[in-house]
């Protein structure tokens, strides 16, 4: 099935460890986004990308890094994990910059990360 695939689905990290959350889409979408969702809160934008080689910060980028070497992949890197990064992370992609509000945005199923 076409769509946005996130791996892993669940992960437990110890404080100070690092990891990469993977996101891949097979719809040839230019725009990709990383959000985090804390309990009882809406999604907050971490980073986004308009295409390969181009990334930009969102609302809450501190503690994260991204890269976009291909159109398909948009990994999110956590360095020195902290308990405050315990959250559910969603990757999303869209065909155009208008797409998120025109029923063209696709979200992955999320990665539930716990930092202990």
């Amino acid at each position: 099935n076409a769509g946005v695939t996130q791996t892993p689905k669940f992960r437990i990290l110890k404080i100070g460890q690092s990891m990469t959350l993977q996101c891949a889409q097979d719809m040839n979408h230019n725009y990709m986004y990383w959000y985090r969702q804390d309990p009882g809160m809406g999604l907050k934008l971490i980073y986004y990308s308009v295409g390969a080689g181009i990334t930009d910060k969102g609302e809450v980028p501190n503690g994260y890094n991204v890269s976009r070497s291909t159109t398909e992949d948009f990994p999110l890197r956590l360095e020195l994990a902290a308990p405050s990064q315990t959250s559910v992370y969603f990757c999303a992609s869209s065909y155009s910059r208008w797409a998120p509000v025109l029923a063209m945005a696709f979200f992955g199923q999320g990665t539930r990360l716990t930092v202990v």
Partner: protein, 114 residues
């Protein structure tokens, strides 16, 4: 800073009733106002969206009402069904050269009792 405020946090409605979720925003530069529906363990999915120059948009049982002067918009779910039980997020979108940036409300957990 929270630019989109959503209420109520949770809502319980009987089957066949009307569910109403409200949002208020602060930034008048927003371009679109979408609503997302999220089931447990799933990512959000776009439900319906409205432009700020339209006062109402209806799609099936779902209606957005938009009040530009009050900077408020709401989602009405008519004839609510148990299958509508989910978390609903309002959002406001600002389109920029590098993409569309969505600011989300805190979410409303809707339970529709049979």
């Amino acid at each position: 800073q929270q630019q989109v405020k959503q209420s109520p946090q949770s809502l319980i409605v009987q089957k066949g009733g009307i569910s109403i979720i409200n949002c208020a925003y602060e930034n008048t530069a927003f371009d679109y106002f979408p609503w997302y529906q999220q089931f447990p363990g799933k990512g959000p999915a776009l439900l319906i969206a409205i432009r700020p120059d339209v006062s109402e948009k209806k799609e099936g049982r779902f209606t957005i009402s938009f009040n530009k002067s009050a900077k408020q918009f709401s989602l009405h779910i008519m004839d609510s069904q148990p299958g509508d039980s989910a978390t609903y997020f309002c959002a406001a979108s600002k389109v920029e050269t590098s993409g569309s940036r969505l600011t989300f409300g805190e979410g409303t957990q809707l339970t529709v009792n049979p």
